[in-house]
């Protein structure tokens, strides 16, 4: 049974402080949507609202054709992986995982079997008899994950479920989550602070800011065509350069920065360019060159990234960050230019 989740103009308060502001969000049946947003922006609050631990002060929440807004939490049939795990301290790892099945009247033998199978999947078979207190952080987190997954509810919510796992396990787990989610057609809401994770696991990603959703789109669209400078910054367009068009020459446009550096941009590559715009680029999107057409900068701190060197650059109107190839080591203090790499840059409306 695959259902959709809709939050309609939802507001939420803790005491007198408003945390969510007219938030609307819809997750299609069987879809996995991630919530990405800075610390304290209201991601956990959104999940708690859907789970029923917090009552919205306005707005409504629907799951399929059921109105959840006033439904008691335990009747919502929603799996939730808690950010702080919230394991039952008095139950063994296996019993923690089997808990939800027990509530659904699954017999002892069957639920133990299912719990064991799920523990196997999260790599904790050997720990089934342990008490949660004797687990490492990452192990606890996987128990929390297994506990929510095993009940196979129509809606699953994950609150930073992999934050304490190492890179490899993280990928394994996320593949596993995705596999199960797809297999069961589970509608899912996934909170993570890891963009790569969000982008790789999600059908669509919602970027949140201060209790509002700024953009909800597929990873590709978000990553390549952020709708506003907030989202752009968020998806790593560290460099936001205000520009003004000085000359239009067919598809070619010449624009200058405030500091007077001028760039020639092709509308075939960037799409239509308005008279005032922001050129957004990731460090990868500003190639550090010793010379050539580009924005002149003075190089600052250099960081080794593995696949490239990153340079903090200063210009008269602000700092920019660009990447240079491993093959060409430039020293701090040197003069250089930043050349936009068209596929990695985008054009945004100016900020209000």
């Amino acid at each position: 049974m695959t259902v959709s989740l809709t939050l309609d103009n939802v507001s939420a308060h803790y005491g007198s402080t408003q945390v969510l502001k007219d938030l609307s969000l819809s997750v299609k049946a069987g879809e996995l949507v991630s919530l990405l947003g800075s610390s304290g922006c209201g991601k956990t609050t959104t999940l708690r609202l859907v789970a029923g631990f917090l009552e919205p002060s306005a707005g409504s929440i629907r799951l399929g054709d059921r109105d959840l807004t006033r439904l008691p939490a335990h009747q919502r049939d929603i799996g939730l992986v808690f950010q702080n795990y919230a394991l039952f301290p008095h139950l063994s790892v296996r019993d923690n995982v089997a808990f939800g099945l027990k509530q659904r009247g699954v017999g002892k033998a069957e639920r133990d079997a299912k719990a064991n199978a799920m523990l196997e999947r999260v790599g904790l078979s050997a720990f089934a008899e342990r008490m949660p207190a004797a687990l490492s952080g990452g192990q606890k987190q996987r128990v929390a994950l297994a506990r929510a997954l095993v009940i196979e509810p129509p809606l699953l919510m994950f609150d930073e479920p992999l934050s304490n796992l190492d890179a490899k396990l993280r990928v394994d787990m996320r593949v596993e989550i995705r596999r199960l989610q797809r297999a069961n057609g589970t509608t899912s809401l996934y909170v993570t602070h890891d963009q790569e994770e969000a982008f790789s696991i999600s059908d669509r990603v919602a970027i949140m800011n201060a209790g509002r959703i700024m953009q909800l789109d597929t990873p590709e669209v978000l990553y390549q065509r952020p709708a506003n400078s907030f989202v752009a910054r968020f998806v790593g367009f560290e460099n936001l350069i205000e520009m003004t068009v000085t000359e239009r020459n067919g598809e070619m446009v010449t624009a200058t920065t405030k500091a007077g550096a001028s760039l020639t941009l092709s509308q075939t590559v960037y799409g239509a360019i308005p008279d005032r715009f922001i050129l957004a680029a990731r460090p990868d999107g500003l190639a550090v060159r010793q010379s050539g057409e580009g924005i002149p900068v003075t190089l600052g701190i250099r960081t080794y990234l593995g696949r490239a060197y990153q340079y903090q650059c200063t210009t008269s109107t602000g700092d920019l960050t660009g990447n240079g190839p491993l093959s060409e080591l430039l020293e701090p203090g040197a003069q250089a230019v930043l050349v936009p790499v068209p596929e990695q840059c985008c054009i945004l409306p100016p900020e209000a």
């Binding site: 394991l87 039952f88 929510a148 009940i151």
Partner: protein, 262 residues
Amino acid sequence: MTTKLHPLLIVFAAVIFAILVAPLFIILGAAVSDTSFLTFPPQGFTMRWFTNIFDITAFRTTAITSLQVAVTGTFLALLIGIPAAYAMNRFRIRLPSWLSNVFVLPILVPEIVLGFSLVKSITIGLELPVFATLLIGHTLLVLPYAVRVVGASLASFDFSIEEAAISLGCPPLKTFFTVVLPNIGAGVVAAFILAFITSINDVSTSLFLTGPGVSTLPIQIIAHMEQFFDPTIASVSVLLMILTVGVMAIVEATLGLTFLTK
């Protein structure tokens, strides 16, 4: 378990427990002394002060009443006290903080006055039967333990695991029993012990609340002591202790006493 205790602490605790237990040997000695008065060291040995308890009809009947009242009263107090304690910790901001002091009132008001006032208002005013009055009185008397002692355990309870259970489909009431209760077991057991003992030992309130046909063991003991000064009272204490060890042993064997502490 892994926390190491400072040797001084262990010595100190050993001394405290030695002092707590020491007088009990005197009482044990006095209870088997073959004399018609309390004495220590015991002179001779007899079990007659124990058999005396069973021989005297009034001890038996009042003991039954006392047990009924203590068990029912403690149970009722926990039944209504635990929800109150829960509400005050779970919904801290939504309940006024003075409420917790309301639940101390039953032990804060001198027992005689409580008994007197209760008789005036319910035995006379509402014409409730004696046993009902006695039960209400005892429930009231032990309510502070149920609310406050359990409340102390709930103060440090992490309510997010309750949410976890609910999100897994466990109804709130069941969640309370399967998740909250096991984790505040120490508090509930402590509350139970204190409430039960308070009820079973109570004299002053019961003085008033007993009536025609209904009396409690402590009152019977006091009546007995008006006339007789023999070691029966010591043997009653010893019996109570043996009973306690017995009950604890059964609990230990069946449930394991770990629930005592979580």
